[in-house]
Symmetry: C2
Subunit: 145 residues, 2 copies
């Protein structure tokens, strides 16, 4: 597991697009939009975009955001977004290791809570997060602007 | 609606604590922990902690976090947290105005998506967000660290 670099972008975008939801949302043939977004991420010290590497290939990714706040006695929380594991690397615990990294990094950053949302249709993902100790205590609302 | 200052902290913490969930989570008698958290928030340019003021009183608050990202073609999204309206100010649309401010500010910040989670027990809040155009498309998972 290591911090993502611009050289990882094709692999990350490929993973984001290789998914029944992502296929409609991503444009892997437009690298400039992803490079601009990477630069915004990279200069924000509360953003941690990481990749998992295996045998020289980028096979997993997630984004961790550290969010200071007032509630829960001034707690800092962490938000996990954009978790992906390459299809070739599924089924041997890489997803678990990605999330465990995120939990450990959240602790290291002083967070008392780690949270994420998962599309209501991703039933397998829900079981996965519950096995790792997350509780589906909330509804996640979104609005496109 | 204006940016929160340290002078707003007692009112904001009072609103966070005045709630069946918040009552157990907050410690209004420990201002130092909230002041330290305010300072962390205030120096992060992607954090927007605001209050609604009416007749000189602080009657509402929310926290907006701007989150750059790679997914959805390098989209920046916004996360709404810690929405509270003072009990004395409920029932005349202040909550709506708070969320509408957050949506407008999210657009101004270049976000293409605004999201929030709401505790599964807050059924009235769910109806409120759906009326405002949010879709309960996700499950929200949390883990205390």
């Amino acid at each position: 597991m290591r911090r993502a670099t611009p050289e990882d972008l094709p692999a990350i975008v490929g993973m984001l697009a290789d998914d029944h939801l992502g296929a409609e949302r991503e444009s892997p043939d437009e690298p400039a939009v992803y490079r601009a977004a990477f630069d915004r991420l990279d200069k924000d010290p509360n953003q941690h975009l990481v990749v998992a590497e295996r045998d020289g290939a980028t096979v997993g990714t997630l984004q961790l955001t550290v969010i200071p706040g007032l509630s829960r006695r001034g707690s800092t929380r962490a938000l996990i977004e954009a978790v992906r594991v390459h299809t070739d690397a599924r089924g041997d615990g890489l997803g678990t290791r990605l999330i465990e990294w995120a939990i450990e990094e959240s602790r290291r950053q002083g967070c008392v809570l780690v949270q994420l949302t998962s599309d209501a249709t991703r039933v397998d993902a829900h079981r996965f997060y519950e096995r790792l100790g997350f509780e589906a205590s909330h509804l996640g609302f979104k609005m496109m602007l």
